[in-house]
């Protein structure tokens, strides 16, 4: 399964990068989201995946008796997910504002309009 997940991460990165290389603004944002998800999955995978053993100390015990999933990457990803929401919403609004002002979706055209604005 790890093998397939590694491939999956690669697919996410490839798709994200391809979208980011487009000239369309909306595609840029979607690419950003996809690559963000890819990064999360990569961190998760590299922290080693474990089935059915969440990092929660069971019942009345004070320690883990059995194996458990690594909590550190999980904590990292959790914050990453929330932060990426902030980033995405900001990016979306930025695009919207930019579109309102320059009336174009084409990143190349935006370059030329910049000076006039």
């Amino acid at each position: 399964m790890e093998f397939l997940l590694a491939i999956m991460t690669g697919v996410l990165y490839a798709a994200g990068l391809y979208m980011m290389l487009r000239r369309s603004l909306v595609k840029l944002i979607i690419g950003l989201i996809i690559i963000g998800n890819g990064a999360n999955l990569l961190i998760f995978l590299l922290g080693r995946i474990t089935k059915g053993a969440p990092p929660i100390i069971p019942g009345d015990t004070k320690f883990f008796a059995d194996i458990y999933a690594d909590p550190v990457p999980q904590a990292l990803i959790l914050t990453a997910i929330v932060i990426s929401f902030g980033l995405q919403s900001f990016a979306i609004i930025l695009v919207k504002r930019a579109y309102q002002v320059v009336k174009t979706d084409d990143l190349d055209e935006m370059n030329t309009i910049e000076e006039e604005v």
Partner: protein, 137 residues
């Protein structure tokens, strides 16, 4: 999306979802959950309400701009970190707990207040973003 069914349902869903989000928040220290998820749940509850009843009603319900939740939450988190500095002269963010655990919530400590602060900030941030966007869209 202002259907009658959703509208009626959202009147009941809002308190239930809010209650659920607080439950998620409080149990976070022992079981899956916590401030981030709790805050997101709560904001989904409000967003649902806004979809059903319109933004104006939701805002009326809130009585104040959700933006004010952000500084409030940050302040709460900060103070909970500052508390050990004042009380025990310990380092910033040292955890302090009451002796006896309370049922359902578990041990009450500074970490819990910190998590509540996170909850409030996340709620404030999400609602501010969504409300601002839907107002100007």
């Amino acid at each position: 999306m202002r259907t009658l069914i959703l509208k009626t349902a959202s009147d009941y869903l809002l308190p239930i979802l809010l209650l659920f989000s607080i439950f998620i928040l409080l149990r976070g220290h022992y079981l899956p959950g916590g401030g981030f998820v709790g805050g997101l749940m709560a904001s989904i509850a409000f967003v649902l309400h806004a979809f059903a009843n319109g933004l104006k009603d939701t805002k009326k319900l809130l009585k104040f701009h959700p933006g004010f939740l952000m500084p409030a939450g940050l302040l709460l988190s900060f103070l909970s970190g500052l508390l050990p500095v004042i009380l025990q002269d310990a380092a910033f963010m040292t955890g302090l707990w009451l002796e006896n655990p309370i049922p359902v919530i578990g041990s009450i400590g500074t970490a819990l207040f910190f998590d509540v602060g996170v909850y409030i900030v996340v709620l404030g941030v999400t609602l501010t973003i969504i409300f601002t966007i839907s107002e100007s869209a």
